[in-house]
Amino acid sequence: MKPKSLVLSALILASAFAMNSCSAPTGEAALSSSLSPAEFQKALQEKLIAAKSGSVIELPEGRFQFDKTLSLTANGVTIRGKGMAKTVLAFKGQTAGSAGMLVKANDFTIEDVAIEDAAGDGLKTEGSTNVTIRRVRVEWTAALNEKNGPYGIYPVTSKNVLIEDSFVKGAADAGFYLGQSENAIMRRNRAEGNVAGFEVENCKNVDVYENTATNNSGGILVFNLPDLPVQGGEKVRVYNNQVVGNNAPNVAPKSQTVYNLPSGLGVSVMAIKNVEVFNNTIKDNNTANMHIISYLAMSQEIKDKTYNPFVSNVYVHDNQFGGSGKNPDARLESVLAVAKAVGQPMPDILYDGMVEPGATDAKICLQNNGEVTFANFDAANQFKKVSRDAKKHQCTLPALTAITLPQDGTKSMTSSAGGGK
């Protein structure tokens, strides 16, 4: 053998070893629409696992079928499709994992993607900081029914969350569900055909603006619930939203908490303090355009000692109301009882009149809401002293501070009416 060929064969040998020991980095397979569903699923999940801070995962145009949850745990990753109508991640028949996409990572951005027919939640972020969800569509393609997945876009125990220009349809519980999170903005989104359109549950410092909620059972719900680790949700602003015609039947089974949401409710403020609702159009919701209630109205025994079931310091101003309460949800006894007490059509704003014992500065303030109708249905005394007089509530509260997010350059507005008084 000539020396040259010796070197050559040594090289060949060397490359044989190389094939064996130094693994090629995974996640390098191109995400092409020519891959089979199983191959595409594997390639995308590999990319999500191999992703490092700064990685951008580009999804091609097309419809891609998955049978298990896609998950991300690497920080600083962006997932980008070609548009909510063009890049569709389809989960019909999903056999493993509950969510469509499950994210537990900071500095996460997802945009221009659709997630359809997830077995459970559509897109869930958990314990994540700096989350941006932009132009994401989550949809259950079957008509709204209890077997659809519960939550569409679902950031939980997350911080600095921006959800914008997104769309959710068909969620069996809530379309947009911000849970146990703080510092968040939901804007310019659309929720239709869900049980609840938007939910802000046990959250602190949230702005909900320029959204549209229509044809859900309930439009925008801001509330606290007991028995969840994060308590003390407050400081939520709901403004410039269109909350119109949320009269879809509530399909939730009786056992679910959301069963207690009356179909035909526009805006719900429950068991929370420091909420500002302004400049919204809230119309044609058949149980009532809005209610402001304590959790005691849920007639659930409260065993969580850290939980405050009362509602206080809610400031409702400069909204347009109309067409409220023409057909209250007869499914719920509580609604029927209130309807009986206050008469029909139900007024725009229903208040249960429950004040925390000993609370001296608890206020419900209504200002400049046009031809608004109102009733305090005196829940504490079995509706004995129903009052339609809103004069007691002609007060103002300081404007809440606009939320700023590190990932967002846009300045959101601060309310002018009554601000700082």
């Binding site: 060397a14 190389a18 130094c22 995974t26 994992g97 459970g120 939640d121 028995d227 679910q256």
Partner: protein, 408 residues
């Protein structure tokens, strides 16, 4: 080059141990050489430079490969790139039947394990020479960097004379910057397993108690899914090797012994009390090992609490299935789930005395992606585990008006 020659000379001189150390140093050097060469390769555009780098990196790779070949002790990799083949770790002695542990690789067992579609599990621990884990009474031990925990999933033969089918070996490696989960999938020849961060499901067969053969679409978790369970406040951690779960006898090759004592004797564990004074959970399926309640709680501890505890993936649910408390309320008694989605028409997580109305049992029994618990890691319902929890729930006194935990 000098060190290479030295290394081979030493081999000839049969000074194996020293050669080994040299080799491991060499491996480390060549691995980093490989990594940096590959990185540089991406940047360099000149062809000649590329070729030069290629030759250099191939050489480095050859060394890495041959080092693995000649090494006889366990090789611990504590940072990327991790070996593609399980055999490169040298956890098991090659040539003999699979899973024969190498020197220092110690098998262990748990009092009450996680259910994984009835798979048999073989667990091993290895720590670098001279290091040991620090005992902890409640949580997972503090293992030294370099520790390898290897858990192999296998299914027994379904016919007489057939062979056991080894499906996967999951390594949890305490790397330089924390624990890393590495799933290795065994080949059909059962000679080695290959690192697959996203493995495809595998069909396995299992003989049920009634003698029928079941087909199982066995899902091997991807490395993110490993983290989903092995996560506490975004830190990957082992789950099983806690004092209470290790506190039992194991039939070692050199005679049966308590695992805590055996680890201590080996130098693998420091600060452990005697087995008698260490906590212990019963074996869920052995009635003589503990009360019904203790066995059910042990089952929930190792099948649910990795997520359902403070800091766990399902902390937001507000239930905590850890064995370390005795508050039935924290186990979900008369608690509405509030943010859990579909609950099968049941109102409360746990209804004392009423298993059929408890979401806990509904989720354990279900095999639907949307409803089942745990969310991942099984495709079948664990009949016996469900029966145990059902029996315990039925004994609980009270209703959802007043709740009291039966004495433990």
């Amino acid at each position: 080059m000098k060190s290479v020659t030295k290394f081979f000379n030493r081999r000839v001189a049969e000074n194996a141990e020293e050669a080994q150390r040299d080799c491991q140093r060499l491996c480390a050097t060549s691995a980093s050489l490989c990594a940096s060469a590959v990185k540089r390769q991406l940047r360099l555009q000149s062809l000649s430079k590329r070729v030069a780098i290629l030759v250099l990196s191939l050489f480095a790779l050859t060394l890495t490969g041959s080092c693995g070949m000649f090494s006889t002790d366990v090789v611990s990799f504590i940072e990327e790139p991790f070996p593609k083949q399980l055999s490169e770790w040298k956890l098991f002695v090659s040539g003999s039947k699979p899973l024969t542990p190498n020197k220092g690789v110690v098998p262990y067992d748990l009092n009450t394990p996680l259910f994984s579609d009835y798979a048999d599990k073989y667990r091993f621990v290895w720590m670098p020479a001279g290091t040991s884990a620090k005992y902890s009474e409640d949580g997972v031990f503090e293992f030294p960097v370099g520790t390898v925990l290897a858990k192999t999933f296998a299914f027994p033969a379904t016919e007489a004379g057939g062979k056991e089918r080894i499906v996967e070996t999951r390594l949890l490696v305490h790397g330089k910057t924390g624990w890393v989960a590495l799933p290795y999938v065994w080949n059909a020849e059962q000679t080695d397993a290959r690192l697959e961060l996203v493995a495809s499901p595998t069909e396995v067969t299992r003989k049920a108690d009634d003698g029928s053969v079941q087909k199982i679409n066995y899902i091997i978790p991807n490395s993110n899914e490993c983290k989903q369970c092995h996560d506490n406040n975004k830190v990957t951690l082992p789950i099983g090797p806690k004092a209470r779960n290790l506190n039992k006898d194991f039939p070692y090759a050199d005679g049966a012994a308590n695992q805590l004592a055996y680890w201590a004797k080996l130098g693998y564990l420091k600060g452990a009390p005697t087995a008698d004074s260490a906590p212990k959970v019963p074996a869920w399926d052995k009635a003589e090992s503990g009360s019904l309640e203790a066995r059910a709680r042990a089952y929930l501890d190792n099948n649910c609490a990795h997520c359902h505890q403070p800091g766990g993936s399902a902390e937001a649910s507000g239930v905590n299935f850890s064995f370390t408390h005795s508050d039935l309320r924290k186990l979900g008694a008369c608690k509405m789930p509030n943010s859990a989605g579909y609950s099968g028409g049941h109102q409360y997580d746990l209804v004392p005395g009423n298993p059929a109305e408890s979401i806990l049992l509904f989720r354990m029994e279900s095999t639907k992606a949307k409803e089942m618990m745990p969310e991942i890691g099984r495709s079948m319902s664990h009949k016996e585990g469900v029966a145990l929890v059902r029996e315990w729930l039925a004994t609980l006194k009270g209703s959802c008006g007043e709740v009291k935990l039966a004495a433990k």
